[in-house]
């Protein structure tokens, strides 16, 4: 199974209890990966409210995940 490196920000970091992790996943897309992680970590934010970046570029939720990808989930933040 492909192994991906994950980075969490803001609320997701809090809910996951970590900034980063590396996992093996059967998910083929960031959307499927987020659904899997939501189950594991109890993420409450819907994917529609987040952005995802793969290998340092904002990406589509339906793009294809590859072995070794770095995936970052980014919630909106507004504090000032």
């Amino acid at each position: 199974m492909p192994r991906v490196r994950l980075q969490y920000y803001a609320l997701l970091r809090e809910q996951a209890g970590r900034q980063a992790e590396s996992i093996e996943t059967a998910a083929r897309t960031p959307a499927a990966l987020y659904a899997e992680l939501a189950g594991r970590h109890g993420f409450r934010l819907p994917a529609s409210q987040l952005r995802v970046a793969i290998n340092a570029a904002f990406a589509d939720w339906e793009s294809e995940l590859r072995d070794g990808d770095e995936v970052v989930f980014i919630p909106p933040v507004a504090g000032g």
């Binding site: 980075q7 920000y9 803001a10 609320l11 970091r13 809090e14 900034q19 980063a20 934010l45 529609s48 409210q49 952005r51 970046a53 340092a56 570029a57 904002f58 970052v72 980014i74 919630p75 909106p76 933040v77 507004a78 504090g79 000032g80």
Partner: protein
Amino acid sequence: MSRFAFTQAPIDASSLAEPLAHDGAGGYATFEGRVRDENEGREVVDLEYEAFEPLAIAEGERIVEAAMRRHGATAARCVHRLGRLAVGETAVWVGVAAPHRAEAFAACREIIDEVKHRVPIWKKERYAGGDSGWVNCRHGDACHRPEAGFDYSRQQALPEVGAAGQARLAAARVVVVGAGGLGSAVLPSLAGAGIGELVVVDHDRVEGSNLPRQPLFTVADIGRSKAEAAALRLAAYNPGVRVTALARRFDAALAAEVVPGADAVVDCTDNFATKFLVNDAAMRAGVPAVLASVYQYEGQLQVVRADQGGSCLRCQWPEATRDGLVGNCEQAGVLGPVPALLGQLQATEVLKLLLDLPGQLRDEVLLVSLLEPGMRRLAAPRHAGCAGGCVRLPGEAAPAPPAGVDLGLPLAAAVRAGYRIVDIREPMECAFEPLPVEGESVPLGRLLDGGLPPDPERPVLLVCAHGVRSRAAAEFLRARGHTAVWSLEGGLAGQAGAH
């Protein structure tokens, strides 16, 4: 031969004119600016010009190139003196050759106006009384004189800054929306850098819970207007900076008042509703914006190059992004240095863009985590739907482009909607009735010869006088496989009643 140059030697107009001559150039216009014997009521004996040449030359080249392209000039050159000049000497010379006089006059006028406005040149005047002063006079602007005692020498020692960069900062006007944690860092840094004018917008009052991360204020300020307390503090810190305090809510009306004409706007607010307002006002006015947000131990920063068609906040976050979705500082908490650091990054990006320093963020989001600690730059290109969705005025739906080639809408709305405006009229026509908005000039003959450089990112709107030639040209281009091409219905003549 370079199109913009500095010289220490007296300007010899005839030798500069010679290389511009061309058999196809029926019009030739020149302008000479000379040293006057008086400035603001003071008798001037002589003066000295100084510039940071690499930056100033690059800017000057851009100005001459753009004016030539816009007006269809065949050759143009601008030369500016440096060093000491006596009254009556030529300080700046512009020469333009074009097929006809109208283009020559128009390009010559544009070059001198833009050079005076944009090229950072620092001028030391010596007065009859024996004293002297360094001044940077933008065309029609008040002169800025640095406050005695406030010494920018360490910043000016940077090779990329120098006296010319300092002059550029002194001529800049920056709007800062929000005087909270981010603003507490942004404002002193920009005032300390010598920005000429700062506009501070915040309708809130100082609370005790603000103080740990907002050292712009003291306990004595509790209950005072944040904008006014900030302005007082900044005025005491650097009296050379003009600070305007606006203790009002930043709404669309205020945005329309303060954003157009600013050199940059900095978003230091704490809610999405206002962030979108700042973003939209900047996009509409074509003013670069530096936005940041913080959450607990981390933050996000985005530079919106509205002046260069860059991606914006709406390209990353959909309309539906609402406050309350994730906590703000009050609900989720925040560590004091986090907004301070993000604010310093914002101030740095503002200075980078004003000084044209390398490494500017554009079409990227910077993620900063202080727990990790680390920074991550994410490419964030302009959203495909940005042209229609990002710059929408209240009550003005972005037009869905019709399948046919005719597009009937006000030109200004087409610009806001992201269309690339291409004026296909002949140079003569353009000179008599200039395009009312920013656009490119590609006369019909050149367009049909394949003279339109492709830009897959932006739909093209062709413009002519009555919409007849532009329709034919759009149909021609579509037949050649350019699908995103439209013609302005009714041409410029049809714009009279369009609002």
